[in-house]
C-alpha cells in the first residue's frame, strides 16, 4: 500500500485513542464533588461566586448520570473550554497557550541535542565497541538515567548560581523583565524571549534569556539522552552484524562507507520510533525542571496546580500532554513508514 493509505489509516485509528484519553480524563474529574467540577465550565473570574456555581451545576447537569455529563463535558472541551485555572487566574486554555512559549524554549534547545548527540554517541559506541568511547558513553548514560532530575537541577543551581553566579533561576533577570514589561520599547512577537530579543534588535535580552535556559535544558539533556544512546547503540550493533554489511565490504567499500551508507540508515529506524516516546520524557522533565528553576512555563504551572489541588489545570495539562504525545507518535510512525519501505506492506 502506498504511503498515503498508511497515513489515512493511522489517522482513523487516532480517533478511538483520543476518545479513550478524553474518557479517562473525564473519569478522573468524577472523583471530585460537583462544586469543584463546576470549575470546568467557568470562563471568567466573576463567575466564581457560590450562587453562580450553583447555576453552573444545574446548567451543566452536574448531578445527572455520568454518561450525560460526559457529553456535556466533551462538547465544552471540543469548543476549547478546559475550565478555570485557580492558580493561573485565567481559563485553563489561556494558561496553556500563555505558558507554552517558555516550555518551548527549553525543549527547542534540549530535544535536538538529545537526538543528534545521542545518535552520534550511540553509533560511535557501536562502531568502536568495547573501546574507550563505548565505555565512557555507556557509563555516562547510565549515570544520567539514574540521576533524579530535580537533584541535578539543584546541584547545577548551587554551583552555577550559588557559587559562581553565572546563571540563575527564572526565565530572565529582574532588570530585563522590567525592561520588557514596562519600558514600552519591546514588542512581544512570539513570546520566545530569545527570538523576540533578536527581532527587537535587543540582543542583550536574548543573551539573558539564553543564560536562563541553559541550565534547565542541560538537566533535561543529561537525563534523557541515555535512552537514545542505548537504543542507537544496540540497533547499530545489530545492523553491523547483518549480511548486507559483509556484502558491502565484499564490494570494496571502506569501513566508513559501510557504516555511514548501509548500517546507519537501518540502525536509525528503531531510534525514530523511540523519539516518539522521548516526548513523554520531555514533558515529565519539563514539569520537574521548571519547578526547580521557577521557570514559569507549562511544567511549573502544572506542578503548582497539583500542589494546590487545582483540578481543571492539572487535568487540562494531562490531556494536553496526552494529545501531544499521541500526535507526535503519529508523525513518528509516518516518518518510519516513509524511511522503511517494508512497513508500508503491513
Amino acid at each position: 500500500m502506498g504511503l498515503i493509505t498508511y497515513v489515512v489509516r493511522r489517522l482513523i485509528l487516532l480517533v478511538p485513542v483520543l476518545l479513550g484519553v478524553s474518557m479517562l480524563v473525564f473519569a478522573l474529574t468524577m472523583f471530585f464533588p460537583p462544586t469543584v467540577r463546576a470549575l470546568l465550565y467557568v470562563t471568567s473570574e466573576k463567575a466564581l461566586t457560590p450562587e453562580n456555581l450553583k447555576n453552573v451545576i444545574n446548567q451543566y447537569h452536574l448531578n445527572d448520570p455520568f454518561y450525560v455529563q460526559y457529553f456535556t463535558w466533551l462538547t465544552q472541551v471540543l469548543q476549547g473550554n478546559l475550565g478555570w485555572s485557580k492558580v493561573g487566574r485565567m481559563p485553563v486554555t489561556n494558561a496553556i497557550i500563555g505558558r507554552f512559549p517558555a516550555t518551548f524554549e527549553i525543549i527547542v534547545f534540549a530535544a535536538p541535542i538529545i537526538i543528534f548527540l545521542g545518535i552520534y554517541l550511540g553509533i560511535q559506541s557501536a562502531v568502536y565497541r568495547d573501546k574507550m568511547v563505548d565505555h565512557v558513553s555507556r557509563t555516562a548514560s547510565i549515570i544520567g538515567w539514574s540521576l533524579p532530575s530535580f537533584w541535578l537541577g539543584l546541584i547545577l543551581l548551587a554551583v552555577f548560581y550559588g557559587y559562581l553566579g553565572w546563571f540563575g533561576p527564572g526565565r530572565i533577570s529582574s532588570d530585563v523583565a522590567d525592561f520588557i514589561n514596562s519600558s514600552g520599547q519591546f514588542t512581544r512577537y512570539t513570546g520566545l524571549y530569545i527570538l523576540d530579543g533578536i527581532l527587537n534588535g535587543q540582543l542583550w535580552v536574548s543573551w539573558d534569556a539564553f543564560k536562563h535556559v541553559i541550565l534547565p535544558a542541560t538537566v533535561i539533556v543529561v537525563i534523557d539522552i541515555a535512552l537514545i544512546v542505548r537504543v542507537s547503540r544496540s540497533s547499530m550493533l545489530e545492523a553491523l552484524g547483518k549480511g548486507y554489511v559483509i556484502a558491502a565490504r565484499a564490494k570494496g567499500l571502506t569501513k566508513k562507507e559501510v557504516v555511514n551508507k548501509h548500517a546507519r540508515r537501518n540502525a536509525l529506524i528503531p531510534v525514530i520510533t523511540l523519539s516518539g516516546l522521548l516526548v513523554g520524557g520531555l514533558l515529565t522533565g519539563v514539569t520537574i525542571t521548571e519547578t526547580v528553576f521557577a521557570f514559569g512555563g507549562l511544567g511549573s504551572w502544572a506542578a503548582q496546580s497539583a500542589q494546590q489541588l487545582d483540578m481543571p489545570s492539572v487535568l487540562g495539562f494531562a490531556m494536553f500532554s496526552a494529545i501531544v504525545f499521541v500526535i507526535t507518535n503519529l508523525i513518528v510512525d509516518v516518518l518510519y513508514a516513509y524511511i522503511d519501505p517494508r512497513i508500508r506492506l503491513v
Partner: protein, 369 residues
Amino acid sequence: MTARSRWEEFKVSMQPRIKEWKFMFRRMRESPLSVLGLSIIFGFAALAVLAPVLAPANPQDPFLIPQDTEIYKVSPVPSPPSLQHLFGTTGDHYDIYYACIWGTITAFRVGITTVGISLVIGVIVGVSAAYYGGPADEILMRFTDVIIAFPGLILAMALVIALPDVLFLDISLMLTIILGITMLFAILSRAKTKMTLTVLTIFVATLTLTLVYPLMLRLPMNRLDKVLIALWLIGWPSFARVIRGEVLRVKNEDYIEAARASGASDIRIVMKHILPNGVYPLLIMASLDIGAIVLTAAALSFLGLGAPPNFADWGQIIERSRNWISRQEFLANAHVFIIPGIFIFVFVLGWNLLGDAVRDVLDPTLRRK
C-alpha cells in the same frame, strides 16, 4: 503417577533450563558493572534491615522523622551536619540522617510493591489479550494505549489529586465486574463450556452478594498511599504490552500446536509453555523499572504531592530545600538536598546497573557468541 516420580520428572525437565541459568549467572558475575549494581542493592537492603539499629525508631511511628524541638524554638534555619545530627537537619529541624535511613525502607517498599503489582496485573491483562485475541484483544489494547498516552509523572499527578482521602472499596462489586468481564471474554472466544459455566456460577453468586450484602472496605489513605496506588495504576500497561507481544510470538510456534494436538488444556499451555519462554523481556523491564519508579515517586514527593512533611522519604526531604533557593543561603543549606539526593541516585543506579547487566545477559541477539 506417584508424587515422587512427578518430582523426578520435574527435575529432569528443568535440567536444560537450570544449565542456562547457571550460564547466565556466571556471565553476570563476570561483569564488573553488574557486580557493582548487586553490591549496591545488597548494601541498601542491609541498611533497610539494620534501620532500627542504625537509627533508633521513633516511638510513635518509625516512619515519622524525629524533630529536634530544642533548636526549632531558636532558629528556623537548617542546621549543618554535627555530632548530634549526623547529616544535619532541615529548616523545621527534622533529622536528615534518620530520614535517609528509614527512607531506605520506604524506597524498597515503593519500588518492589509497584513492580510486583504492575507485573501481576500486566501479565494477566497481556496474556488474556494475546491468548483470547479478537475483540477482547482490541479492547484491552486500546485501554492500554490510552494509559500509555499519558506521560507517567503527569498521570500520576492527576491521580494523586483525584484519589479521595478515604477509599471505600466495594469488594463484591469489583469481583462481580471482573468475573463479568472474564465471562464475556470466555464467551467471545468460545472457551470450553465447562469453564464458562463455572465462571457463570461464581459470577451469579457474587452478583447476589453485591446486591444483598455488599462487602465494603474502608481504607484511610495518607498521601504516600495515594502515590503508591497511582503508581500501581500506571505501571502495568507497559508490562501488558510486552508480555502480549511475547505470547503472540510464542503462540504461533510449532511446539504450541504440538501441545494442543496432544490434548493439553489452554491453561496448561499458558503456564507450561508460553510463560517460561516469554518471561525474559519482562525480567529485563522489571529490573529497569524499579529505578524509574523510585525516581517518579521521589519527583512526586519533591513536587509536594507525595509523602507528608514529616515522613521518612528521600524525595520529601529534598522538597524541604525548595524554600532556600536564594543565593546567600543556598550553599549553606546545600546539605539538605545533597545527602538525600545521593541516596536516591545510588539506589537507582544500583538497580539500573543490575537491569543493564540482566539485559546484556538475557538479550537473545547478544547471547552465546
